[in-house]
């Protein structure tokens, strides 16, 4: 089966829907037409730019270019993770987010490329870049929920944590409930995603492949592999981020150091 190619004219026809939205916004005074126009333009420009960039990278077969792109994408994800919580660690949330996001995405991407997917060469940009992109999306979610779960709750949990420290509990024992709650919350989206897949939602990757002409069962196999990878990466990122963040809020005398929080 050959994928159906879209032409600019086909997309322009679909864009009539956006014009209808804008008309509704103006007619009903919903006042979102300006934001809608800006967002639509951004979407088209950003995606076209990335399309041409990827075409160039895929054709070049340069592992260095691929590595540079992976690094750049990871750094944007680190920034997103760092800014989500309302609280900041002294020294910046990136000191926790950077090693976790980068470590987990490299580990899971290399694992998948060398075992399940096996392109030639294994770092082929056509496989590596989309895989890293989708992994980063899940890692970003899990890491930022875990980080916010610790940073935004530790202050109000201070009395409960210190009460246990005063009774001679170790810092690890006193903060375990808070850590567990943060990690569990971070795992909810990816577990929901797996539970809903195929019943409530048709996941994006497989929908895209089917629209492009792929066999449904082949598309589903890919989707299963991806969901397993996403879940594995999310869990590693949530655990790593929550523990690393908590470690920043203690010292060698097992004190709760809220002065390390801004």
């Amino acid at each position: 089966m050959t994928p159906l190619t879209l032409h600019a004219g086909d997309i322009a026809i679909a864009a009539i829907l956006l014009v209808v939205d804008a008309a509704l916004s103006i007619g009903l005074r919903l006042r979102f037409h300006r934001a809608l126009a800006i967002a639509s333009l951004r979407m088209v420009v950003q995606l076209l730019a990335v399309g041409y960039l990827l075409r160039y990278v895929f054709a070049g077969h340069s592992p260095w270019l691929t590595a540079a792109l992976v690094l750049a994408m990871s750094l944007v994800a680190v920034r997103e993770v760092a800014v989500r919580p309302t609280r900041r660690l002294v020294g910046g949330n990136a000191i926790v987010a950077l090693p976790n996001v980068l470590g987990v995405v490299l580990l899971t991407a290399c694992f998948a490329l060398m075992t399940a997917i096996r392109p030639h060469p294994w770092y082929d940009a056509r496989y590596a870049i989309p895989l890293v992109g989708i992994l980063l999306g899940s890692i970003l979610n899990a890491a930022s929920i875990a980080l916010a779960g610790v940073l935004d709750n530790v202050r109000q949990q201070r009395d409960a944590i210190e009460a246990q420290l005063m009774l001679g509990a170790t810092f690890r024992a006193a903060t375990a409930p808070l850590l567990r709650r943060a990690i569990r919350a971070a795992m909810v989206p990816v577990i929901n995603q797996m539970a809903a897949a195929g019943v409530i939602t048709l996941p994006g990757t497989m929908t895209g492949q089917m629209l492009a002409g792929a066999d449904p069962v082949d598309a589903v196999k890919y989707q299963i592999l991806l969901l397993i990878l996403l879940t594995g990466a999310s869990c590693l990122a949530a655990v790593g981020t929550a523990y690393a963040c908590m470690a920043r809020l203690r010292d060698d005398r097992e004190r709760l150091r809220l002065d390390h929080l801004r």
Partner: protein, 199 residues
């Protein structure tokens, strides 16, 4: 089990230097916000600070922090609770002693089955004291332990601490009540504005 405190200070208060003999009670009085609570937190090693604390001949720095805090229990003015019911905050092996201490402090035994939100401030204060005493600490750091209590319960707490002192437990007792300070302690220091101790 004497307590020696030498040059204890942080960027806000101190330095504090004093000692309390074994089984003695030092009362620390003074206006709110002068640093009485900070002093207790520093002795319990809960905030970063400089200075030396020695208790029963043991230099605090040689003990891991959790071991030190089991020896020197701080009972804060605002107690913390981490589980849903009151009973979950107490180790099951202390069941009998727990009920005996509760009766001494005029608390009903049925209180332990209730959610923590249902306990009044005064009940929580006494429950936190029981929770700390069950671990048999040798140094008690009390921060306004009777602040929310009626006179009868206050009397019960004071007698309980007196019994602990009789068996050798050393006490540092922060109170804003000068009458209580003279009742319960054999030496008293006043926290002056600026975080220094005066006689």
């Amino acid at each position: 089990m004497s307590l020696f405190v030498e040059g204890l200070h942080n960027h806000l208060v101190g330095p504090f230097t004093f000692d309390v003999p074994a089984g003695g009670c030092l009362a620390v009085t003074g206006a709110s916000g002068t640093g009485k609570t900070l002093l207790l937190r520093m002795i319990a090693d809960l905030d970063p600070h400089e200075g030396r604390v020695t208790f029963a001949g043991i230099d605090r720095a040689t003990l891991p922090a959790p071991a030190w805090r089991r020896l020197a229990a701080l009972i804060p003015a605002r107690s913390g609770w981490w589980a849903d019911t009151i009973g979950e905050h107490f180790a099951p092996e202390h069941e009998v002693e727990k009920r005996a201490l509760a009766a001494d402090l005029l608390l009903p035994g049925s209180l332990f089955d209730r959610p923590i939100e249902e306990a009044s401030t005064g009940e929580r204060q006494r429950l936190a004291l029981i929770r700390a005493l069950l671990a048999e600490p040798r140094l008690l750091l009390l921060d306004e332990p009777t602040a929310s209590l009626d006179p009868v319960s206050t009397q019960a707490v004071e007698s309980m601490i007196a019994r602990r002192r009789a068996s050798g437990t050393t006490v540092v007792w922060v109170t804003h009540d000068a009458a209580q300070a003279s009742r319960v302690s054999d030496l008293a220091l006043q926290m002056l504005p600026g975080g220094v101790l005066g006689a």
